[in-house]
């Protein structure tokens, strides 16, 4: 039973790795922030951070519910081109 977190951009630096597996059956947004510790959790709490669940942007982070086998991507503000 695991949910995969993918950290993009500078969130990967804060997380210490680009990916992390969490051994849990389900995961909500508040659980995620609490489980990430003060520094990373604080960065994730920014309204500028967006979240994708299995490749689809989550419109309302507060209502997020990830399940076993899901991939959750944490996306800070972009800087392409």
């Amino acid at each position: 039973m695991a949910i995969r977190l993918v950290f993009l951009g500078k969130l990967a630096d804060l997380a210490g790795a680009p990916q992390r597996e969490i051994a849990t059956a389900t995961l909500g947004w508040a659980d995620l922030l609490a489980g990430c510790g003060a520094e990373l959790g604080g960065a994730l709490a920014s309204e500028k951070v967006r979240v994708a669940l299995n490749g689809v942007i989550v419109a309302d982070k507060a209502s997020l519910k990830a399940c076993d086998g899901d991939e959750l991507a944490l996306l800070p503000p972009v800087s392409g081109g």
Partner: protein, 147 residues
Amino acid sequence: MRDVRLLETGFDPAAELAGFAHAHPEAGGIASFVGQVRAGQGVTALELSHYAPLTLPGMEQLADEALSRFDLMGLQLIHRVGQMTPGDPIVSVCAAARHRRDAIAAVDFAMDHLKGDAWFWKRELRAGEWHWIEPREQDRDDLARWK
């Protein structure tokens, strides 16, 4: 012709433009923009990361939006990911149209969105240390022009 590519390795923007122009003999004009890693300012490398499930689909959607918004005969979007050095091309956009204003506006539109509304993250290596590039206020303003 709609040609959207995300590349892990280097490319030759002039050769891409030549091929694109050759594919559109009926176009009156072809506008293009090439973004490259700037030499100078102490940057020794630049790295672009992306999120595969979103980045290429987002670029394809952007191409579709540009094709529906402007009167184009073809559009090419090419974006690098991975590590680059000064002088390397990062992004190339080419638009072919019957009339030049459509081609130029489409390139402008696509670049604003690739810069401010596409799933890329950029960092620069300066004096041996990586620095993440934050979005500029100007990029947000540029993007807002199209809303």
